[in-house]
């Protein structure tokens, strides 16, 4: 903690793991980038910068609750004491374990958990319940990368650091919209490229995302054909003699068979180009670029991982780096960029169904013995448990009868999510610990446990480059909320394991975790008494972080693992930075023979192909300013301003063929489910591909959970679902009316077919559409907005055109307004939204109220483009017409794009459009 009263903590969003300075000012909570944090050096993306706006009490779960009767009846949830709630959980799980065995219970946890929470959960489940039925939403995110790492390196090790990105001559971004999903990393790449224009960036992505803006080459390959691409690269490199023979001979095995398969499946450019659906010369250019770039990094994200061939995709990438020896060297290597703040921490403690703990293996008896001894546990899980998708299958099938869901929202995020709903509805005991009271998942809980949120909880997270940073508390716990580890430990104590679960704070848990990583680890400096276990060697080693006092733990500076005990003295003193350890720099891997494995990757198409009924491919992903199921980002007006509604993006020609039009609503249907979203044709989509964002759910929209559409197909090795490829159909969704409501208070959604809720500054916005004719709009609107009969109520109706508009004014202040039209041609919400900031409406405001714009148009800034500085589209267009013809010039004039920079691609597009001759 700095002397000036700022609390240093770590951002709770993506896997970049930026440092955040929080100051509790009288005016509110100020959030800024931590200038000393090596990841972001003071910068924050718009999501991070808006963290302060999300620290609101709205919707928090504050007390333990127990449901007395059926699921459908929300009201039957009753507040109870922690003791009662924990007794119910402990006895409920115990009864089911006694009756049906330990495999009849399960935990479904989250990459949002801190390492310490994760550790206690994993320990309780694997050592004290004796099952490996603990899986996590990280399964949906990077388990293919983990599996790929384990197959190739023998251990889940990310070999590249962020600094390497700045050293590389070539960065290949595969299946990663880095610009939107890891903005700070992207900005580091863009900056490096500005410094060294010779540095090349290649983007491999079916979509022309914002990331492609900085790319020298964009390869819009057909969804799911990555293995062909990288098999082709392997073959090409080999054919052209780009082989580090010494490295391959000394440090790898398996090349011949791998190469044979690559040659057979992707041996010539033309074939690969055809398979991938790209231009042959473009492909050749990429291959040649890779061939001549010694310092090459292939960074990949969900586009690679979320696939039924995800693990093979990862290995096909790693194979190319092994062949060229471009690994374990500065500026080179395969780089998995994780999505969640602590997916990596979860991997380190082993909080997945196919891991044991601390990079030790479930199927290794010695490892099991080591861990069981270390934990002093009565038993130890012996075989892998259910992975995420299978877990909910097992619940649905009645094999798993009790589940504890922590810090995640599977009803929204899992594939075939309607089945998840059904499964939870059938489950005997559903425990949910969360920070929010109402999520799509808490609706199914029998027991609700209030957890601490970011800013309240205390612990560590690990980012994509293996850097451990502290998340520190700076707010008091609201209500009776508690840390997740505490709840788990309390259950452990109720089962009689008092000694094993008597933690006084997160630092003790971290210490235990650190010691476990060193246990039996021959390279570590700490010698455990049971250090006889063979093959417990692993790169993960936090021995040097063991033994910290609470104060030392609190002061822990961001550090990359491993931190073996010989570095213990230096770990916490910034004057003596740790030598950045570079895995594999000695050519030694963590397989039994210390050699890396080439993994033969037989390419295969996604599990379900397009057909006449479902002629398009559904791709899913994030948008720039939202995070996961919006429980946090949904609270921020600034973040809601960028993309406010669930949408389906598709090629204009496909839109035409589907009979849908930009701005209208469309039903998006797969064999598994359907949703309704606004149609867009952003120009990013290739033919036959549609994109739907993952964020919207039952709390923010009537019908927008893309999870319910995704095919429940998983990678055979990693169990990661194929989120990026589901055959889909898009159809016009006819409605009789469109509308929106802006209101200071929540508005009940009755007789509304489709709605989505957007958080605004001092108001809520609802976008609406209906299939039910409303004959008396005035009555409908008055009752929906709760306006009394003598209210100050402005109204406009064009009945035969189906137009209705009204505004409710209370003491000269706008309280709510509603706009309805049979077409999606409603006026801009921007100016109206601004009226909610005024304590008093001026006469001119009142005049414009029902037309939705001020008498002089200049006051309407249009939809927000730059969220950091709140710069609207109209303002930008005026500035462009006024002579600002570059993003830089706009930035100088309006500051837009000068903070997180993630709007720069949009600024450039806008400049191009605005300057186009009419």
């Amino acid at each position: 903690m700095s002397a000036r009263g700022a609390v240093k903590t770590t951002c709770p969003y993506c896997g970049t793991g930026c440092g955040v300075d929080v100051r509790l000012a009288p005016s509110g909570i100020e959030v800024a980038g931590d200038a000393q944090h090596p990841t972001n050096a003071g910068r924050l993306c718009v999501k991070g910068a808006a963290l302060g706006e999300t620290l609101v009490p709205d919707g928090r779960l504050l007390y333990p609750q127990i449901r007395e009767s059926g699921i459908e009846n929300r009201e039957s949830l009753k507040r109870v004491t922690w003791d009662t709630a924990l007794d119910v959980v402990a006895s409920g799980f115990q009864r089911i374990i006694e009756e049906h065995g330990p495999d009849a219970v399960a935990w479904y946890v989250s990459g949002q958990l801190l390492t310490e929470d994760y550790y206690v959960a994993n320990k309780l489940v694997k050592g004290f319940v004796g099952t490996a039925n603990i899986d996590t939403n990280s399964r949906l995110c990077m388990s293919s990368a983990v599996a790929g790492h384990k197959r190739a390196f023998g251990e889940d090790i990310v070999p590249v650091s962020y600094a390497d990105l700045e050293l590389a001559d070539l960065i290949v971004l595969v299946g990663s919209n880095t610009a939107w999903c890891h903005p700070i990393l992207y900005q580091r790449i863009v900056k490096a490229k500005q410094r060294r224009p010779e540095m090349k960036v290649v983007v491999v992505d079916p979509r022309r995302t914002a990331t492609t803006d900085a790319a020298d080459l964009h390869l819009p390959i057909r969804a799911g054909t990555d293995v062909w691409l990288f098999n082709g690269l392997l073959s090409f490199l080999h054919q052209h003699g780009i082989v580090d023979t010494a490295f391959v001979d000394a440090h790898t095995t398996g090349l011949p068979r791998t190469l044979a398969i690559a040659d057979n499946t992707a041996g010539n450019l033309r074939g690969v180009a055809k398979q991938c659906g790209i231009d042959e010369t473009l492909l050749g250019e990429f291959y040649r670029l890779f061939a001549r770039s010694e310092k090459a990094i292939t960074a990949f994200s969900m586009g690679v991982n979320q696939s039924s061939a995800g693990t093979d995709k990862v290995n096909s990438i790693i194979n190319c780096h092994l062949l060229t020896g471009r690994i374990g060297k500065p500026g080179a290597g395969p780089f998995s960029i994780t999505g969640q703040p602590n997916a990596m921490g979860g991997r380190e403690v082993g909080g997945l169904a196919n891991m044991l703990a601390a990079h030790l293996d479930l199927d290794n008896a010695d490892h099991r013995a080591l861990v069981q001894h270390f934990w002093q546990s009565p038993k130890i899980a012996e075989r892998p448990g259910y992975k995420a998708v299978d877990l909910f299958e097992a619940i649905d099938a009645g094999q798993v009868k009790a589940v504890w869901i922590m810090a995640t929202n599977p009803v929204v995020s899992l594939p075939d999510a309607d089945k998840v709903k059904r499964a939870l509805a059938r489950c005997e005991l559903v425990v949910v610990s969360d920070v929010m009271e109402r999520t799509d998942t808490t609706a199914f809980a029998h027991v609700l446990l209030p957890a601490l949120a970011w800013g309240e909880k205390d612990g560590t997270v690990t980012n994509s480059e293996r850097r451990i940073s502290r998340q520190r508390a700076f707010l008091p716990p609201p209500g009776e909320a508690k840390p997740d580890w505490w709840m788990l430990a309390e259950v452990g104590r109720r089962w009689g394991y008092t000694a094993q679960f008597s933690y006084s704070g997160a630092h003790e848990i971290f210490d235990e975790h650190a010691r476990l990583t060193a246990a039996g680890n021959r390279e570590s400096g700490i010698v455990e008494e049971q250090d006889a276990a063979p093959h417990a060697l692993r790169y993960l080693n936090l021995g040097g972080l063991a033994g910290m006092t609470r104060e030392q733990y609190d002061a822990l500076a961001p550090v990359r693992w491993p931190v073996p005990s010989q570095n213990a003295l230096a770990f916490n003193d910034s004057r003596f930075p740790l030598p950045d350890s570079r895995p594999f720099s000695d050519g030694r891997f963590y397989t039994p023979d210390r050699r890396a494995r080439f993994v033969p990757t037989m390419p295969r198409l996604p599990a379900h192909a397009r057909d006449d009924d479902f002629p398009l491919v559904l791709n899913t992903g994030r948008v720039r300013d939202h995070w996961h199921t919006m429980t946090r980002t949904g609270l921020s007006p600034r973040l809601a301003a960028h993309i406010d509604e669930p949408y389906v993006d598709l090629h204009p020609q496909d839109a035409l063929l589907c009979g849908v039009r930009e701005g209208d609503l469309a039903r998006v249907t797969t064999r598994w489910g359907s949703l309704v979203a606004r149609v867009r044709s952003s120009g990013e989509m290739p033919r036959r591909n549609v994109f739907v964002p993952i964020h919207w759910n039952g709390q923010y929209a009537s019908d927008a959970r893309v999870g319910s559409l995704v095919n429940p197909v998983v990678d055979p090795v990693s169990g990661e679902p194929e989120f990026k490829h589901t055959p889909v159909r898009v159809e016009h969704f006819a409605v009789l009316w469109h509308g929106f409501v802006l209101s200071r208070r929540p508005v009940p959604m009755r007789d509304v077919t489709w709605w989505t809720r957007v958080t605004g500054a001092r108001f809520l916005r609802y976008e609406l559409a209906g299939r039910v004719t409303v004959s008396d709009w005035s009555g409908f609107a008055r009752s929906a907005l709760g306006a009394p009969a003598d209210a100050d109520w402005l109204e406009y109706e064009d009945r035969s055109a189906g137009l209705y508009r009204a505004a409710h004014v209370v003491e000269d202040r706008i309280e709510a307004c509603v706009f309805v039209s049979p077409r999606a041609d409603l006026p801009s919400r921007a100016w109206l939204s601004g009226l909610f900031a005024k304590d008093r409406l001026e006469d001119r405001d009142r005049l414009g109220l029902l037309i939705g714009e001020p008498p002089d148009r200049g006051a309407d800034t249009g939809p927000t483009i730059c969220s950091c500085f709140g710069v609207g589209r109209n303002t930008l267009i005026d500035a462009i017409r006024g002579g600002c013809h570059s993003a830089d010039a706009l930035g100088r004039k309006l500051r837009c794009g000068t903070n997180c920079g993630s709007c720069i691609p949009e600024l450039k597009n806008l400049i191009a459009t605005a300057l186009e001759p009419a």
Binding site: W793, L794, Y796, E797, R799, S800, A801, L850, P855
Partner: protein, 438 residues
């Protein structure tokens, strides 16, 4: 210019004289026609004007402001006696024409004057309709039609407290407002369930009622007058300034059909007008509801006789507002001048209520029907209400209350039959919004 002037009416002077135009009615319609005619050819006719009222021509529309004390009689004079003299026009004011001898082409006045004509223009206007209830002829029961009525009311206001205006139309409300401004207790009695039902729809009428009541008017809707009660002839009540018959019995109240009664020292009937066609009918000119004219304002029966104003019927329509009468005057003048190239075409009309502080505008058919579409805006707190009636994407009617600035613009769009579909969604919000979008 060679008018076919019949020999029989040629005067016996030697020099060939100018043809004679006789105008019956010294009101706005007749004199506007004369003015238009003078503009076309000032020397064409030898013009004689007969008027029933003993004044020059004044603007009848502005009687309400005079009553309300906002204008003086001088303010509303259009043509003074001097004007007639200056233009060589013979004026017989206060001497109404009582008969037309079409065979001889001569009119005869009340005072016995006979004047021959080559062309006759009838502009006899209308008479206020007096509901035929017992007591309607009592002193203190008047209409609101001319300067005399205004003077009667002003006099009554000086000496009396209680006035009742029968009729909640445009004229009635203006009269009521005027009397209120003169310090009287005024009750408006209206037989319909909303005020100004010919100009306002119900929501606007309700706003108007609210605003008028706020000013102190008492308004009784759906109230039928059964009888006007008078004092007995030996009433000790002072009888001042009530015109002729001041010493006899005088109005003291009204009884309604529901049996209730109300006190009144003055009763103003403003329940409508009837075209004044007594003279025309007596002369055998074809009349229906009014004196029927063709598109040139010529009477159907006699090509020498033209007619304009509230006394005419053109294609089934009769007239009460000034704008169409101005059009008639212009057309009629071209035919009298022998140019004969214009046709009278009816256009939509618009109304404003001349009550200071109450802004109200109405035009066209604002009630609408099965093929019309309504745009309705209301902001009761600000006292604003707008309703536009569209038909085939054109403005068919307008009612504006409270915010009437765009009234003339809507009216212009309506008269031009402009297609408003391009800015229909903005139309109600006014011209500046529509033009900003264009």
């Amino acid at each position: 210019m060679n008018l076919p002037v019949p020999d029989a009416v040629l005067p016996v002077t030697k020099a060939r004289p100018r043809p004679r135009l006789v105008v019956v009615g010294n009101g706005m319609a007749g004199m506007r026609t004369v003015e238009e005619l003078l503009k076309l050819d000032a020397a064409l006719y030898d013009i004689t004007v007969f008027g029933a009222e003993p004044h020059g021509n004044y603007n009848r529309i502005l009687l309400s402001p005079v009553l309300a004390g906002e204008k003086t009689v001088e303010d509303i004079m259009i043509h003074t006696r001097e004007w007639y003299a200056a233009h060589g026009i013979t004026l017989h004011a206060g001497d109404p024409v009582v008969a037309i001898d079409r065979r001889r082409c001569v009119v005869k006045s009340k005072s016995g004057r006979e004047v021959g004509y080559d062309r006759l223009l009838l502009a006899t206007g209308s008479k206020p309709f007096m509901i035929p209830v017992p007591g309607a002829d009592l002193p203190g029961v008047i209409a609101f039609r001319d300067l005399q009525d205004v003077e009667t009311m002003l006099a009554a206001a000086r000496d009396h407290r209680k006035a009742v205006v029968i009729g909640g139309g445009l004229l009635g409300l203006e009269a009521a407002n005027g009397l209120l401004r003169q310090g009287m207790d005024v009750t408006v009695v209206h037989v319909m369930d909303s005020l100004m039902e010919r100009q306002l729809d119900k929501p606007a009428a309700a706003l108007l009622k609210q605003a008028l009541e706020k000013r102190g008017l008492t308004i009784r809707l759906e109230t039928n007058t059964a009888e006007i009660l008078g004092t007995s002839s030996d009433s000790p009540l002072p009888q001042a300034g009530a015109g002729p018959g001041a010493r006899g019995p005088r109005v003291r109240g009204l009884r309604f059909k529901d049996g209730s009664e109300i006190e009144a020292d003055l009763v103003v009937m403003a329940v409508g007008i009837r075209p004044n066609i007594d003279l025309a009918q007596a002369a055998g000119l074809h009349c229906e509801r009014a004196l029927v004219v063709d598109d040139t304002l010529q009477t159907l029966s006699d090509p020498r006789i033209y007619a304009v104003g509230e006394c005419v019927q053109h294609r089934k329509a009769t007239f009460g507002l000034v704008a169409p009468i101005w059009d008639q005057a212009r057309v009629c003048a071209t035919h009298l001048a022998g140019h004969g190239h214009r046709r009278y075409v009816q256009t939509a009309t618009s109304t404003k209520l001349k009550v200071t502080g109450i802004d109200l505008f109405s035009a066209g058919d604002f009630i609408g029907g099965p093929h019309t579409e309504d745009l309705v805006f209301s902001d009761p707190r600000r006292g604003a209400y707008k309703r536009l009636v569209l038909k085939d994407n054109r403005i068919h009617g307008v009612v504006l209350y409270g915010d009437v600035a765009d009234g003339p613009w809507y009216f212009e769009l309506m008269q031009k039959r402009a297609d408003v579909s391009a800015f229909r969604n903005r139309l109600v919000f006014g011209r500046s919004y529509c033009e900003a979008a264009a």
